[in-house]
């Protein structure tokens, strides 16, 4: 691990100003991913600015019926919140399907959004990786890639985003609130993340020293009818092979509206807009759900080891929608 400086600030603007002065550096919250990455020399910041106590640790009701989640709210607290469990069960379920109890007690909402990929080549400084060291090449493209992307990848990077929470938030159209050197921003979560393109070293559209301060969940009338389904090789404590976050509104056997996002398939949580379009107005039956899933996966480009993810994603989308109470 490269030596680094540890800084604290009085408040959010102080933290932003402190980090803005540095050439390389990171905000530190729970540290559950960042510290590992530093031990392995994958990230080598000159300075860590501790923001753990600076952003809100509260979950507030918004006037429009939504929720505002402070960036420092832990994954455990967010999953256990009664409002989240009743109004956004998909989010609570996603959180509880991730990591372990110990990690969820430490990991924060802001930090969870900014997890780095779990690509094994990214995690090994002895192998080329464009995300870790731009221009060196992508080892996973022709290597062990059973866990890698089937949608939206580029020849420069086939990594996937590891978060479960972010998949649920993507389905819920969450808005990420930030404070940076240029002021405050509200970023729709789908715009926070990016596809790898030619710059896989950039996971998000955040600027240097831009801090996530909160996440807003907008009200969604049918979000109580939502669920998260995560497929993994062992029963707990594993990253998703494929996951699905889905919410559905059905009237008289017809899909009025739906929100669907996929995890484990792309460089970002994958909002399944094609599937949503197919489903709106369609009968709420298995054939429709499967047709929607097929439409979403039509552009899938599997690699050597991950072709299984295509039928898996179709099956899991179909089954998750079928299992929602309003489908029955």
């Amino acid at each position: 691990m490269k030596p680094f400086r540890y800084e604290r600030a009085e408040n959010v603007s102080g933290a932003v100003a402190t980090l803005a002065r540095e050439r390389t550096g990171e905000f530190l919250a729970g540290g559950t991913n960042l510290v590992d990455l530093m031990k392995l020399d994958i990230m080598q910041p000159d300075v860590l600015v501790d923001v753990r106590r600076l952003t809100s640790g509260e979950i507030e009701d918004l006037p429009d019926g939504g929720l505002r989640i402070g960036a420092a709210v832990t994954n455990s607290d967010l999953a256990a919140d009664a409002r989240v469990r009743s109004r956004y069960p998909v989010l609570s379920q996603a959180l509880l399907s991730g990591a372990s109890g110990q990690l969820r007690n430490l990991a924060t909402t802001g930090g969870n959004l900014l997890q780095r990929t779990r690509c094994a080549y990214f995690y090994d400084t002895t192998t080329p990786c464009n995300k870790r060291e731009p221009g060196t090449g992508c080892s996973a493209l022709q290597g062990c890639n059973s866990g890698h992307a089937i949608l939206g990848a580029s020849p420069h990077c086939v990594a996937t985003h590891p978060s479960d929470m972010a998949v649920a938030m993507t389905a819920l159209d969450a808005v990420v609130r930030t404070r940076g050197p240029a002021g405050e921003r509200e970023i729709p979560i789908s715009d926070l993340y990016r596809l790898p393109g030619q710059e896989p070293e950039r996971d998000t559209t955040l600027e240097h020293a831009e801090l996530i301060t909160a996440v807003d969940l907008p009200p969604l009338e049918f979000s109580p009818n939502s669920r998260y389904r995560k497929v993994r090789e062992r029963a707990s404590y594993a990253f998703a092979l494929v996951s699905v976050a889905a919410a559905l509104r059905v009237r008289d056997g017809v899909v009025l509206d739906t929100r669907i996002a996929l995890g484990g398939v792309a460089h970002k949580p994958w909002r399944a807009r094609k599937a949503e379009d197919v489903l709106r107005g369609a009968p709420a039956v298995q054939e429709s759900f499967r047709a929607a899933a097929d439409a979403e996966l039509a552009d899938a480009a599997p690699l050597r080891d991950n072709a299984y993810k295509v039928p898996l994603a179709v099956n899991v989308m179909t089954r998750t929608l079928l299992d929602l109470p309003e489908s029955r």
């Binding site: 031990k39 090994d124 062990c144 059973s146 090789e233 707990s236 990253f239 299984y308 089954r319």
Partner: protein
Amino acid sequence: MTTITERRAIGAPLDRRDGPQKVTGTAPYAYEYRFDDPLYLFPVQSDVARGRVSRIDASAAEALPGVVAVLTHENAPRLADTSDTELAILQAGDVAFRGQYVAAVVAETLEIARYAASLVRVSCDEEPHDVELRADRDDLYAPEMLNTGDPTDTVQGNFDREFATAAVTLDQTYTTPMEHHNPMEPHTTVALWDGSDLTLYASTQGAHQMRAMLAQVLGLGQDRVRIVAPYVGGAFGSKNLHGNTILAALAAQVVGGRPVKFALTRQQMFSGVGYRSPTIQRIRLGADSGGRLTAICHDVIGQTAKMKGFAEHAAVPTRTMYASQSRRTTHRLAALDVPVPTWMRAPGEAPGMFALESAMDEMAINCGLDPVEFRIRNEPEIDPETGLPYSSRNLVTCLLEGARRFGWADRDPHPSARQDGRWQIGTGVASSTFPVVRFPGSVARISYLGDGRFLVVIDAADIGTGAWTTLAQIAADALQADVEDIDLRIGDTRLPEASVAAGSSGTTSWGSAIFEAARTFRDSYGDSPSEGDQAEATMPENPNASNYAMHAFGACFAEARVDADTGEVRIPRMTGVFAAGKIINPKTARSQFIGGMTWGLSMALHEESLVDPRFGHVVNHDFASYHIPANADSGQFDIAWIDEEDPYVNPMGSKGIGEIGIVGTAAAIASAVYHATGIRVRDLPITPAKLLH
């Protein structure tokens, strides 16, 4: 043989004697010994799989405050014996596998050592490497013998003729992946060199064996090396002498006078401390119309390192399991630019019996027989390999008792016929076996402390097995004393020599030595010894060894649930019934069987070291990507054993139990998955990707 006739302590479900120390953190593991002025070692590993170090620039590391020494092959002390190339650490610039130690930093703190190691620039002249095991290689060779000392190949009868004329046949290939043992406690050493003597606090499964080899490599008399290892956090075959211990000893000699601490990171556990060879196993079976085997052939291909041979003996259990008038077993190896494979819990038996028992399930189906009945029909009268009678063989009893406990009787043999919602449900069975292994050379010493108390000392290793407790139970009955009155000391080369904790042999070997010492003590001092009376004895030869074949047997039954949409496999329940002689401690034994079956579950569903042939390394070298079961993967374990009296194996009547729990589990699960889905997975592990269609 004299045996223990009155068993009071033996057979009692005593709590672990070391339990309170372990759960309160007061049982010291090697890295936890406290010193005033320790130094820390961190290695530099090669990032090429084959080649030669051309230049090492350690200037940046050496300039870092707190760095005490940088060791390279150019400046490291010379070893006296480099004939074992795996142990010839930093003696030459050759690189034989990716991850090999090419330098090491010793520093005042672990953080400085680790950072300095990242600053050491190692340039290599890279040469083409070859790390891929394939059945179609043209350079496969027959090793001189197997690791166990067994012959490489065996032939009985005329397999080709019998197979060609059999009424029912099977010809399938089964593969098992490279697997890495990962005890919770990684390989750790604290090495202290005082200018003439070397003391090591080490995590090892055999302190005396480690000392003998280490002393030879370093060119020291054994009396100048002491190894202390009373508590070991798991070993599984990986904690014999490897390069990490040599490196720590070299560093200690360089810095002199200050202890050097070295603990492997989890990532470093995936290179240089051994692994289970991958296997490619072809099984051919022939049977008559009555379901009696007439032809058995088991051909094994494994891998080893170019630098050193190691031959996984996967077909050895096939030599003893079932009756047949013809039988052929072979082992071939590919020598690759890889680290040296080693013993991994149930070596040979675990991969070999996955193949044989999967084939037996398929063959039962081909014969139209229930798989329990098929195995019973092929039960041998005597050991097919040696022609000797078994000292005891109760496989059939295990199968029948297991079937009863598991609820096998009304099983519908048709695959993919049962569902619970989206879960497809199936059941499977497999046999288990493990030899009664007995290593020579163990010595125990017993002293009378007065007040009815005895001190029993032997350099045995408790690698989590329960030896701290079971050896005291054996001593108590052998001395006709209470367990509370036995003061046991183990895990230090200053104690009398004991054989290695391997091959499920500890209780047999060390227990027999303790029994013999107790017999000598009682012969010398009768029932009323005086304080200070002492007796020592070496484990005697077993006169029955050449007259009987000695094996433990067992049966494993598993229920599998497979999600029809996702291919996720869950194992809600397993039954294991074992015939393993006298069980010394039912409580620790049950833990051993559960641990073994969990290992088998892990092998069936999770473990696989993925090698990238372009780089030559294990890609998934951490626990985020190399999976072992979580608690949520471990369902109900129904564990039982039959009351087996075996007067021939040893004075306790016990057989080893540390590994047999593993042996049949993977095949039972694979057969249960087939029964659930109709898909026969012959390539471990059984992942969702292999079940989606």
